[in-house]
Amino acid sequence: MTEATMNKLLILAAAAKYDVSCSSSGSSRSGRPGDLGSAAGWGICHSFADDGRCISLLKVLFSNVCRYDCAYCINRRSNDLPRASFTVNELVTLTLGFYRRNYIEGLFLSSAVVGSPDYTMEALVNVLRALRIRHRFRGYIHVKTIPGASRELIYQAGLYADRMSVNIEIPSEANLKRLAPEKDHSSVYRPMLFIRQGLEENREARKRFRHAPRFAPAGQSTQMIIGATNERDKDILRLSSHLYQGPALKRVYYSAFVPVNRYDSRLPALTVSPLARENRLYQADWLLRFYHFRADEIADDAHPDLELDIDPKLSWALRHPEFFPLDPHSADLGQLLRVPGLGLKSAERIIRSRNHCILTRETLAAMGVVMKRARYFLACPRSNFYTIHEAGPAFVRKALSGKKPPREHQFPLV
């Protein structure tokens, strides 16, 4: 490892850090004697950076020499930055060296668009091929699909990678056109649909031939920047829910806008990133994926944005008091999942246990139900809690959103 590699690594890691996704989940591959690596289905975090984000994969760009000039991107052509590109061997040595020391779970490879999309995509495929074929690497690989790359290259990348992703970045096409005049949504959706087709063909093929090569077993994901443009939360959630249903994405990531190019007047002049909004969007995303909510239930025309002081599930429950209170002994899983303070695990525990015992408030609390929130929405035997009907939504909102004033620890001396 030379000084030059170190410099490249620093430049290309700093250039890749604004990509949020770093998960190594969704693909399970056991090791093989004599080969390096395996993939754990649930993903493993190997470290946590100073911003609290997990580091699971070696996240680097292949190159940051970009031909585009997108307003929101740090690597845009008009920025005066040190530029660098890896060679295939450098990247392979780094990945394997880090992997053998258990620093990482695999590689997250992305790139700026060098020359043409096909040229860049081919370079990425070369790295993957070297890792998978020459070094028989069985760890996790996430590869970014370059918008506009040809179908054949995307298919090849899918044969080597576990997860693929194409970033939408800006949720609406008009705003994308404004901030990145050289891009459009169809260049993003086309590769997404290629990947989906590949996934479906592969599913069919594997039904017939057990040893058919797997195509992107961990599916595909995408990312949207939040707060750089004027989309409301309802638009974002509607788009996410379409993406989960249409191209069957595994994950949509939300990235609170960090103003990296302050000089560009097309971008809002933010002093802080909208981190709270990002958090609420992730909560809403979970409701879409695991809690059987529809996008229009979480945010609609009457409530176009998520409330920042209470979570989206509580917000829905306060707007729908007629749904509650529920009896935990008889409610089905779908109903239980709508109770604030109850998650997937505690709902499942309730269902497993309720044939064997009576669920009192103490039992529920011991099972991991957050009674502070759930108390208003559950009808427990022998409990003297107010339900949402007795207390009223306004009271519940106040009780659950307000932070208590700090307690006085001593009396004033005078």
């Binding site: 890691a13 850090k17 004599g34 754990a40 190997h46 609290g52 053998r100 525990r349 011991a366 099972m367």
Partner: protein, 253 residues
């Protein structure tokens, strides 16, 4: 109060169950041999642990617990926390006396306590899967030291063997003073001498040149990846508690 003394092995625990059914007396407390019984202990019985007894009890228990519960019992055992053996004893007794496979009932406080212990051990194991760090020695052996809260090294070995099957490695548990060596084919028990582990970490003189450059690269990469505008040290410490930092190269110097 009935107290049983046993040899603090899992086989001993199963033998204690066997003895309890033979004597028709069930202990309220299990203690290791030589430990001091509480003041009002009436019956003190010392369990003679044999493989035959353990085998018989295990066969009976296996039919009465499902896979999740068996795993929970195993993990709770590896927590090595005080009272975990008494808990396991009570749960296994409930299982033996249940007419069918014991349902996982979270309304039962013993089940809850076992599941809680098992979850803590399992979390520690998963954390260690991520935070384990190998260092390459001059002989080409990848060596890792760690100090987990629970005795999770035996649970970690299958994962490492599966993943790093083409390299030789040693994983050493510093506070418990034992480790395993994978020769490339088999796993052998091994202990590292204290003198080669100054401050719990492997002596730098034993490492290759390459190792230093890789850990330097990793450190720089780690620094470059953080977004300054989103700095969140509390979240970082919650996800990666400081007790792991001693063994992480990115947190050294």
């Amino acid at each position: 109060m009935i107290v049983f003394f046993y040899d603090k092995t899992f086989g001993g625990l199963l033998s204690a169950l066997f003895d309890a059914y033979t004597l028709k007396r069930f202990p309220a407390l299990l203690l290791g041999e030589g430990e001091i019984p509480p003041l009002h202990a009436q019956i003190n019985h010392t369990v003679s642990s044999t493989e035959e007894k353990a085998e018989r009890v295990f066969r009976a228990v296996r039919n009465k617990l499902d896979r999740a519960a068996l795993k929970a019992v195993k993990y709770a055992w590896f927590s090595e926390s005080t009272g975990s053996d008494t808990l396991i004893f009570r749960l296994l007794r409930k299982a033996l006396e249940s007419p069918r496979v014991l349902p996982l009932n979270y309304g039962d406080s013993d089940t809850r306590a076992i599941m809680r212990l098992s979850r803590q051990v399992s979390c520690e194991k998963e954390k260690m899967m991520g935070f384990l760090r190998f260092q390459e020695t001059a002989q080409g052996i990848y060596c890792a030291t760690m100090a987990p809260r629970y005795n999770i090294l035996p649970l970690l070995i299958p994962h490492c063997r599966n993943r790093f099957s083409d390299q030789q490695w040693i994983i050493h548990d510093v506070p418990r003073g034992f480790g395993f060596y994978f020769t490339g084919e088999t796993i052998l028990p091994v202990t590292l001498e204290k003198s080669s582990l100054p401050g719990g970490r492997l002596d730098e003189a034993l490492l290759t040149e390459k190792e230093k450059s890789f850990s330097a690269l990793w450190k720089e990469y780690y620094k470059a990846l953080a977004i300054k505008e989103r700095s969140n040290p509390r979240l970082q410490r919650r996800c990666m508690p400081k007790r792991f930092w001693t063994y992480l190269p990115e947190k050294q110097g």
